[in-house]
């Protein structure tokens, strides 16, 4: 919809949906398969099927690889560039983020963010047939939103991560710096989404609504960085999630205007 495409192509949409569901499910399963030892050490994740031993690791590995393969092949059949982007997302998530960096550096979340932004970029590329600046902004919107999500969890579950020896921003740089990073990334995510809305040319009314939501996120972020509290940080995480969902709806419906 970000392309304001007048043609609604159900087979392409269904194919893309299948490809996304398969590749994201596959990468998530592979992530849990690789991390099942550290998941078992953390209170938040110890009840996951692999960590609790309800599913054999070998079985999960096979299903994860199969779904990932189907997802990438499905996307490649739709459009080679879309398929390549889906493959990159999977590669960054499973290989770079999970296997290579997660246990070594707190900066692994950057690669997690890159992986997280790939599905929306793939959708845009499939819709317009090329990589354009609006696609890059959509990618950046998700890329900057992901630290808000992950870093908030790392603050709330700092003891868990420490127990599993997973490096986080909290353990490496302290809570103050982590909160500041959350604030800055929330603001950058909002700027990216407003840029997308302007670039697509959504109607004036929807632009007003996005302006209100962005102003809310901006005020909340700045207030939280000036007067940080644990409850407030978690509230910011919730607000940023509502913001991202709402801005997607605004771009979707505003595109009709």
């Amino acid at each position: 919809m970000s392309a304001r495409c007048p043609v609604f192509n159900l087979p392409t949409l269904a194919g893309f949906l299948f490809s996304l569901v398969a590749s994201i499910s596959g990468s998530t399963i592979l992530n849990m398969w690789w991390d099942c030892d550290i998941d078992a050490l953390m209170k938040r994740t110890c009840n996951r099927p692999l960590a609790s031993g309800r599913i054999p690791p070998r079985q999960a590995q096979v299903v994860g690889l199969l779904l990932s393969f189907l997802g990438v092949v499905g996307a490649l059949l739709l459009d080679p560039l879309t398929g390549f982007i889906i493959f990159l997302g999977l590669f960054f998530d499973v290989v770079v983020y999970t296997i290579l960096l997660k246990r070594r550096s707190c900066w692994s979340i950057v690669w997690g963010g890159i992986a997280g932004g790939m599905p929306i970029l793939a959708g845009r590329v499939l819709a317009v047939g090329s990589l354009d600046w609006i696609g890059v902004l959509l990618f950046l919107g998700i890329f900057f939103w992901i630290p808000t999500h992950i870093l908030t969890f790392s603050i709330r579950n700092a003891a868990d991560y420490q127990c599993a020896r997973v490096p986080t921003f909290v353990s490496a740089y302290g809570i103050e710096f982590t909160r500041l990073t959350i604030t800055i990334s929330s603001i950058l995510a909002a700027i990216a989404m407003v840029g997308v809305a302007i670039g697509i040319g959504i109607s004036w009314g929807y632009l007003r609504l996005l302006g209100v939501l962005s102003a809310g996120l901006l005020i909340y972020s700045v207030t939280e960085s000036l007067k940080p509290t644990e409850k407030g940080t978690f509230g910011l995480f919730k607000f940023a999630s509502i913001y991202m969902l709402s801005s997607m709806f605004v771009i979707f419906f505003g595109g009709f205007g």
């Binding site: 009314g205 007003r208 209100v212 939501l213 809310g216 919730k238 509502i242």
Partner: protein
């Protein structure tokens, strides 16, 4: 204090109605009123989201105080700019001074009387504007009867403010706990009235 499911549904409903109002409900107006109403309904939207996230515990923060001042002032300014544009600048000055006055006196903790006087004055004028102008405009025949709902919305926001004022003084006629549970319903009803008034009026 934990909010109930009904409270959350009412906050969500308030947020959706306010979002509708920002998006399409004020489209046919000129720039000045659109900006004022966008601030008012945008504030309503953000306030309902705030209470959805934090529940009724959100009352311990300054957010309700700020939004309960901004919303009536912005709606009042929008109405003046829409129907009596020649008084727009004067009302804009009142809005800015009023907002600053309420914020400053709020921060003076040891002199609550100043805050009470400024809140009463500013809210009183803004509330009077919201209640009287729509009724006057309907009587003049410039808007349809439904526009009277804007005045009802104004009365409801006044009622909400009154309930909280009563709950803060002694002896407590209405306990704060009951007020907190009335608040989501009042917020929703008020927003619904505004939407009905602006849409059909």
């Amino acid at each position: 204090m934990i909010s109930t499911k009904l409270d959350r549904i009412l906050f969500l409903g308030t947020g959706l109605l306010a979002a509708y109002q920002v998006t399409t409900g004020i489209d046919r107006l000129s720039l000045g009123p659109v900006l004022s109403f966008t601030i008012a309904f945008g504030m309503l939207l953000l306030t309902s989201l705030y209470f959805l996230i934090f529940g009724l515990d959100g009352f311990t923060s300054p957010v309700p105080g700020i939004s309960s001042t901004v919303i009536p002032l912005a709606i009042g300014l929008g109405l003046i700019l829409q129907f009596f544009p020649k008084y727009g600048s004067l009302y804009l000055v009142f809005t800015i001074i009023g907002l600053i006055l309420v914020m400053i006196t709020r921060s003076i903790q040891h002199q609550p009387l100043f805050h009470t006087i400024s809140v009463t004055l500013v809210h009183g004028i803004a509330g009077f504007t919201i209640c009287i102008i729509p009724a006057f405009i309907v009587i003049l025949g410039r808007m349809q009867f439904w526009y009277i709902f804007v005045a009802i919305g104004g009365s409801l926001i006044g009622l909400a403010g009154l309930l909280f004022s009563i709950s803060r003084i002694k002896p407590k006629i209405v306990p704060l706990r009951i007020n907190l549970h009335l608040f989501p319903a009042l917020l929703f009803s008020m927003t619904l009235c505004y939407v009905l008034g602006f849409h059909f009026g």
